[in-house]
């Protein structure tokens, strides 16, 4: 047995539980009177994989972790062959649960092989009444997996064949692990030596304290997890593998080993299912501890206190799996696209901060957001062009609501009129809001995101004017072109931190931007007339801001770089690439207002 690295689970109480000739090393954190959450690790891991998550859960729950047999400081069965069957692992789990929470059922959380085990625990009859809920990450039930493959083998439509192929490619290592001796040699030899570096780099672990020193033995022993279980279960998957507990399924979209499609049929097996999607790779307990811990907390709390369950069911919107419980900040949220975006995120169950210089409008947005399903919503009165106010806002948001997961820099103002009649005052005003507002937002909130190092997304509202030259909107177009390029550059820079950046180019959308636009070079009466006229024209076009909001959510889900929304915006983008000369010709026309 190799020793545990000392710092991984600070303040944990340890005990040993014996079961069937094995000694399991069990660690506990938090008050034993609180609901018990049992965290089961995967392969090649030890319980320390949960250190970040456990730390975050310890204040509210009785957190229990144990090293699976043959891993970490638990002893290994002799002989190894046949010692890792799911039946025996279920014995281990029940022994641990009986020791740490003899009277109350526990909330089970599993990652990777821990989740594969968890599915077994949650679907076999003998654990009934011992488990209150199950949160699964990156580990399907082998039985469900078996049925999934069978279904696709028996009727291989092109799509199903593609899905099979895709998962087959991702499962390459499973075959390798079935060869005798070689995996053990590799893990005890060169692979074991290099693995920490490989996994830290590939998965972008925030620090180098994990994997722990026991890795080589863990990985060598753990090969038997595959050899003892995969073939029998794939050949004859259980047909009664229905979960008897509520299940929360957390799916990272960038998992190198498991396809998202694997979970398509999960509803069939788990009637009470909550889906969560996360833009991350395989090891989310290391790379996304905040989000993982908060979803576990929310799920467990809802099962412990049924009254608190309402908000989860309130959010039926699209992408609820992706944005449920996440913190979204939208600027310019008192009207138009910003407001519609806040509502769209609210419908997906996000927590929404609506920022605008119109305090009343922002408060109203927050109020309505709560009504349509936001877990929580706040209105904040801030002028985005005011750097200090933005700094203050960021500090307040970070301390009171948390680090922003999705930032939408949407606030903007219109300015129309020929360049030669646009004063420097006009220029300053439009650049202050449209460009500096975005810069402040990206800099201040983006910095917080990057420092947290757990991913995130920034959406900047640019415009079709960013690539569409015209003689009527020189200042506005310039500001938006800057936003577009800023977004592209930032996207390159923040990719390392798993922070996505999208630029949205809406086009002509029916919002009040026209009613508040400045028209340079004309008197007040004429300006008013043009505002009304352009408002009417935009009203006739009548493209609803709600559709832009949908595009924004989709841009975050798919991590798109540049998103033109209206047909004219798409057309203009196409023309700017392929027929720029025509576009320049059109730019010379002077529209009558």
């Amino acid at each position: 047995m190799s020793g545990m690295s000392g710092t991984a689970l600070a303040g944990a109480r340890e005990r040993r539980v014996s079961t069937g000739g094995i000694e399991l090393c069990v660690a506990e954190l938090g008050d034993p009177d609180h609901p018990t959450v049992v965290l089961v690790h995967g392969y090649p891991d030890s319980k320390e994989v949960w250190s970040e998550v456990a730390e975050r859960l310890a204040s509210r729950f009785h957190v229990v972790l144990y090293d699976v047999r043959g891993h970490g400081r638990s002893s290994a069965p002799v002989p190894l062959r046949g010692g890792f069957t799911l039946e025996k692992l279920t014995d281990d789990f029940l022994a641990v649960v009986d020791a740490v929470s003899p009277d109350r059922p526990v909330h089970l959380v599993g990652h990777d092989w821990g989740s594969v085990q968890g599915w077994e625990f949650a679907t076999v009859a003998r654990t009934e009444g011992r488990i209150a809920s199950f949160t699964s990450m990156s580990g399907p039930s082998l039985d469900h997996f078996g049925h999934w493959i069978k279904k696709r083998m028996t009727r291989p439509t092109p799509r199903r064949a593609a899905q099979l192929l895709n998962q087959g490619v991702k499962s390459w290592y499973v075959g390798m692990l079935h060869t005798p001796v070689l995996p053990e040699l590799a893990w005890r030899g060169p692979l074991g030596k290099r693995w920490p570096k490989i996994v830290q780099r590939a998965e972008k672990f925030p620090d180098s304290s994990y994997p722990t020193a026991s890795l080589r033995e863990d990985a060598a022993h753990g090969a038997w997890l595959y050899r003892d279980n995969v073939r029998p279960r794939m050949r004859r998957p259980r047909t009664d593998a229905y979960a008897h507990v509520p299940v929360q399924l957390i799916v990272p979209t960038g998992d190198a080993f498991l396809s998202e499609r694997l979970y398509d049929d999960t509803e069939r097996w788990a009637p009470d299912l909550v889906r969560r999607t996360l833009s991350a790779k395989h090891w989310i307990p290391r790379t996304r501890p905040d989000q993982v811990a908060s979803w576990i907390s929310e799920f467990v709390t809802a099962r412990e206190e049924p009254a608190a369950r309402a908000p989860q069911q309130k959010a039926p919107g699209r992408h609820a799996d992706r944005f449920g419980g996440r913190l979204v900040l939208v600027t310019g949220a008192a009207s138009g696209i910003g407001r519609a975006t806040a509502f769209a995120f609210a419908e997906a169950g996000a927590r929404v901060v609506a920022v605008d210089r119109d305090a009343e409008g922002a408060a109203r947005t927050a109020e309505m957001a709560r009504l349509v399903g936001a877990a929580e919503a706040w209105g904040e009165c801030v002028d985005v062009s005011d750097e200090q106010a933005m700094e203050k806002l960021a500090a307040k948001v970070a301390t009171e609501y948390g680090i922003v997961d999705v930032l939408v820099n949407n606030a903007g103002i219109g300015l129309s009129g020929p360049f030669l009649e646009t004063t420097s005052e006009d220029w300053k005003k439009v650049l202050d809001v449209n460009l500096w507002g975005v810069i402040h937002g990206c800099r201040i909130f983006g910095k917080q995101m990057a420092e947290r190092n757990q991913g995130g997304h920034i959406v900047n509202t640019a415009s079709a004017a960013a690539y569409l030259p015209s003689r009527t909107l020189p200042a506005y177009s310039t500001s938006k072109a800057a936003v577009l390029m800023l977004s592209e550059c930032l996207r390159a820079e923040l990719a390392d931190k798993s922070i996505g950046v999208s630029a949205i180019c809406p086009g002509i959308v029916n919002t009040n931007i026209t009613a508040t636009s400045r028209f340079a070079g004309v008197d007040a009466a004429e300006e008013k007339r043009r505002q009304e006229r352009s408002s009417r024209l935009y009203g006739l076009r009548n493209f609803p801001p709600e559709k832009v909001a949908e595009a924004i959510l989709l841009a975050v889900v798919k991590n798109q770089a540049v998103v033109p929304v209206t047909p004219e915006s798409k057309g203009a983008l196409w023309m700017s690439r392929f027929t720029p000369r025509t576009l320049r010709r059109i730019a010379r026309l002077e529209p009558r207002l």
């Binding site: 419908e347 409008g361 947005t365 009504l371 349509v372 609803p544 709600e546």
Partner: protein, 289 residues
């Protein structure tokens, strides 16, 4: 609101003419029908059945002609989601489910008087629609106030729309034919045979067409729309006003008759025909609470 307390309404008005009393009677009858049918709606009832229930109820009470046949919209059809053509307004086979909002809209003609009303409700609680209904109140006040100020109808339309936008809602009456927020309504000659075309009573359509012709010559229109033909001060007569709010798949409206006269006294120049209607009572209760 100072104007609202002083506001003179039809039922405390001693000298309400027989004609107005006739219109008030049919409007009340229609609202009674809406409330009765709404109370009878159960899960599984379809829009067609709900429309049929309104029609039967009113026929039993002597209604023979229609300005338009009863409509019923359930669920996101209350907000006219994805409505592209007018045929989509007609009742469908959609079934009512618990927690669904609905709107009943009917325009019966009774003893030669026409009314056009809209009634919003939900099967069980619906916080969003509740909120929409509460937020319709300032619209009723705004419309009356601005009609009394004799502002052009098009301008009032835009001001109502602006208020909706500020509230965070979409203007859904824009989905109606010609995008109208209101239309004129008038007496209808009683005939033994009163056919309908596309859900509209032919007698009423004729009246509307005659008005349109007159109006076209004189520079006004019986349709209160966002377009240039509505760019005129309110025309004396009876207007069925129907602001319709939409918010993310939920809609709410009311519809009732606004009386516009050529009186110079602002209070007399325009008033709501009846203040004893479900939505008005509901606001009064909210205020009291």
């Amino acid at each position: 609101m100072a104007g609202a307390t002083k506001q003179r309404t039809a039922h405390d008005r001693a000298g309400l003419s027989d004609e107005l009393r006739g219109f008030r009677e049919v409007q009340r009858l229609a609202y009674e029908c809406a409330e009765t049918v709404a109370a009878q709606l159960r899960p599984g009832v379809t829009e067609r059945e709900a429309a049929r229930m309104q029609r039967d109820w009113l026929r039993e009470r002597g209604v023979r002609d229609w300005f338009h046949l009863p409509f019923a919209w359930f669920g996101d059809r209350t907000a006219f989601v994805n409505f592209k053509i007018p045929l989509q307004f007609f009742p469908t086979g959609r079934k009512l489910e618990p927690g669904m909002p609905f709107i009943l809209d009917m325009a019966p003609v009774y003893r030669g008087y026409a009314a056009d009303i809209g009634y919003s409700g939900s099967l069980g609680l619906h916080p969003v629609q509740d909120r929409l209904m509460s937020d319709l109140r300032p619209h009723r006040e705004l419309i009356l106030e601005q009609v009394r100020e004799r502002r052009p109808l098009r301008e009032i339309y835009e001001n109502v729309e602006r208020l909706m936008t500020r509230q965070g809602y979409a203007n859904r009456h824009r989905a109606y034919p010609f995008g109208v927020i209101a239309h004129k309504i008038d007496r209808v000659r009683e005939r033994r045979w009163s056919p309908t075309a596309f859900g509209f009573g032919t007698q009423s359509l004729r009246g509307l067409a005659a008005d349109a012709l007159h109006g076209h010559r004189e520079g006004w229109s019986p349709l209160w729309s966002p377009y240039r033909f509505s760019d005129h001060p309110p025309q004396p007569g009876l207007w069925a006003v129907e602001p319709h709010l939409g918010f993310r798949g939920t809609g709410a409206k009311f519809e009732e008759i606004l009386v516009v006269t050529d009186s110079r006294d602002p209070g007399e120049s325009a008033f709501w025909l009846d203040d004893d209607l479900p939505h008005v009572r509901r606001w009064a209760e909210e205020k009291a609470a």
